[in-house]
């Protein structure tokens, strides 16, 4: 303890704590500076310095947007909606069993099945849908199907993770009550667990759908269909007024789907 005379400043942490925090900051600063050096070894600073001019030039090319181009986008928008919705559906269907295998209270074996299910979740979550799409376009050829499967594969991890957490949080007493009637394992899941997680499940699925709408708008950049295809071709032909319009359309789609999903989820909970 320091002496409590007038000149002592009040501070909240003990010395050891303060030293650890100081060390943490020191290492962070060191690491950041080092990373900055490594990262910028190949940066062409000439390009960075003339960015304001480039920006002004780009803006003058982008405006006004090519409003008439919207007539060609309706079909692509429908495709985007389909990719997101069917992809979510695929992901949800695949995530359902994975979640039950991953939850501690429903998995058949914590030693073998649970780690596999957790790895599936981790693998699906760590790889962005754009990378899945890149792979699938290379495997299946360009088109909507690759987009749907990419969205589905990415959604498994997200949905299964949130779902298995809510399965683990379910109330054990109703499980016991159903078990005491002599119900089989499936009947217990069907009558004791599913009613408890159903609202959470639907709300997770709709939340993911909303994210998927956002992601499916750009899948076309790697050839997986939807409005991103038009973005990619407009970028390649440097048709900036079309690019502006497409980005505005994407923003509008995202805002509408976010509003819709928030509305439905607030009804569910």
């Amino acid at each position: 303890m320091g002496q409590l005379d007038q000149s002592t400043l009040w501070h909240s942490n003990n010395r050891r704590h303060a030293r650890i925090i100081w060390g943490f900051w020191f290492i962070t600063v060191l690491l950041t500076v080092y990373c900055w050096q490594v990262m910028n070894e190949e940066t062409m600073w000439v390009f960075v310095y003339d960015a304001p001019e480039q920006g002004a030039d780009l803006l003058s090319r982008m405006f006004p947007p090519n409003w008439l181009y919207i007539n060609q986008l309706y079909e692509a928008l429908w495709d985007t909606l389909n990719i997101a919705t069917l992809g979510t559906l695929l992901g949800v269907i695949l995530a359902f069993p994975v979640a039950f295998l991953a939850a501690r209270n429903t998995t058949p074996s914590t030693k073998f099945v649970r780690p596999v299910a957790l790895f599936i979740i981790a693998a699906s979550r760590s790889i962005n849908s754009l990378i899945w799409a890149l792979l699938l376009v290379s495997i299946l050829g360009p088109g909507i199907l690759a987009g749907i499967i990419a969205i589905g594969l990415r959604s498994i991890g997200f949905v299964a993770k949130l779902l298995y957490e809510s399965i683990e949080e379910t109330n054990g007493t109703s499980v016991e009550a159903i078990e005491s009637t002599g119900a089989s394992r499936f009947q217990v899941i069907n009558y004791a667990i599913i009613p408890q997680i159903l609202p959470a499940f639907l709300s997770i699925a709709i939340f993911r759908w909303d994210i998927n709408i956002r992601e499916s708008t750009i899948l076309g950049l790697v050839g997986a269909g939807g409005i991103g295809l038009f973005l990619s071709s407009s970028l390649n032909t440097l048709a900036w007024p079309q690019v502006t319009l497409i980005i505005l359309v994407i923003l509008a789609t995202v805002v509408v789907s976010e509003y819709f999903s928030a509305k439905v989820r607030s009804l569910l909970i």
Partner: protein, 262 residues
């Protein structure tokens, strides 16, 4: 004989339930019907799919080791710098966007900046920043920083709006200045969650850094893109496995740190 039927919780009205199902099935029919699939091409792809699976199970770390190392290094350095700079910049934006401690004009400015940053996907931002700043990691760094400001700024603002007012009042009563109030009354309340969220964002930034390389903003994404373009699925499998391992390590580490902080 009467059988028991469990009640329907979500949509108790039978007609509504029927209508929702009909709408759902109608959409499925129309939606799936409008998906054009080139089945011949997809069938030919099965072969490649099998090759990819084989590549994933027997990844080839060695033959492209140099490219992979350079890509991962670029991704990691990009992630570290953009997360740190993004956190630093998100603090003023987050404080500015909290309704209870900021004046109205500042609040509106910060809120609209955050909304703008959140509404654009990283990859679209990356396309523009690559056009402005040239190819390479610097454009990627800017993209991730921009996205981090929106993400953390919003969450910090919400966290500050939800604090316990009593501590703020107690500190104000001692005659503390605005800065002292933020430091002594607000910061201790939001700090534990901010640390957790920062690590979470680090994780997201790493995952995103693997993607924005596809449009030329540096990182492992470019290496992955080349590997897939050349049909080198064993190298692609190796890269994906490295990404998965790093993300899992980040998650584990951030869980550990969050536990330590609280």
């Amino acid at each position: 004989m009467r059988t028991w039927q469990r009640p329907h919780y979500l949509v108790p009205n039978k007609r509504w339930r029927l209508a929702l199902w009909v709408m759902f099935i109608a959409y499925l029919v129309v939606g799936i019907g409008s998906v054009e699939v080139n089945w011949m091409r997809a069938y030919e792809g099965l072969d490649r799919g099998a090759k990819f699976l084989a590549g994933f199970l027997q990844p080839d770390f060695t033959s492209r080791a140099k490219d992979i190392y350079a890509g991962i290094l670029e991704s990691l350095t990009m992630t570290v710098t953009s997360t740190v700079v993004g956190i630093l910049l998100s603090l003023p934006f987050g404080v500015g966007a909290a309704r209870n401690i900021s004046p109205k004009p500042v609040y509106l400015f910060c809120r609209s900046f955050i909304a703008l940053s959140r509404s654009m996907q990283e990859i679209i931002v990356a396309i523009f920043l690559v056009a402005l700043f040239g190819f390479g990691a610097f454009a990627g760094f800017l993209t991730l920083t921009y996205a981090t400001i929106g993400f953390l700024g919003k969450l910090l603002a919400e966290e500050i709006e939800g604090i316990d007012r009593k501590q703020l009042e107690a500190i104000s009563a001692t005659g503390a200045s605005w800065l002292q109030r933020v430091h002594m009354a607000i910061w201790p309340q939001v700090m534990p969650r901010m640390i957790g969220l920062s690590f979470y964002r680090f994780d997201i930034n790493f995952r995103e850094s693997a993607v924005i390389g596809i449009v030329g903003a540096g990182g492992i994404g470019a290496t992955l893109n080349t590997a897939i373009d050349r049909y080198e699925y064993d190298s692609a499998g190796a890269i994906l496995l490295i990404i998965i391992v790093i993300v899992m390590a980040c998650e584990y580490l951030s869980g550990w740190i969050r536990k330590w902080v609280s």
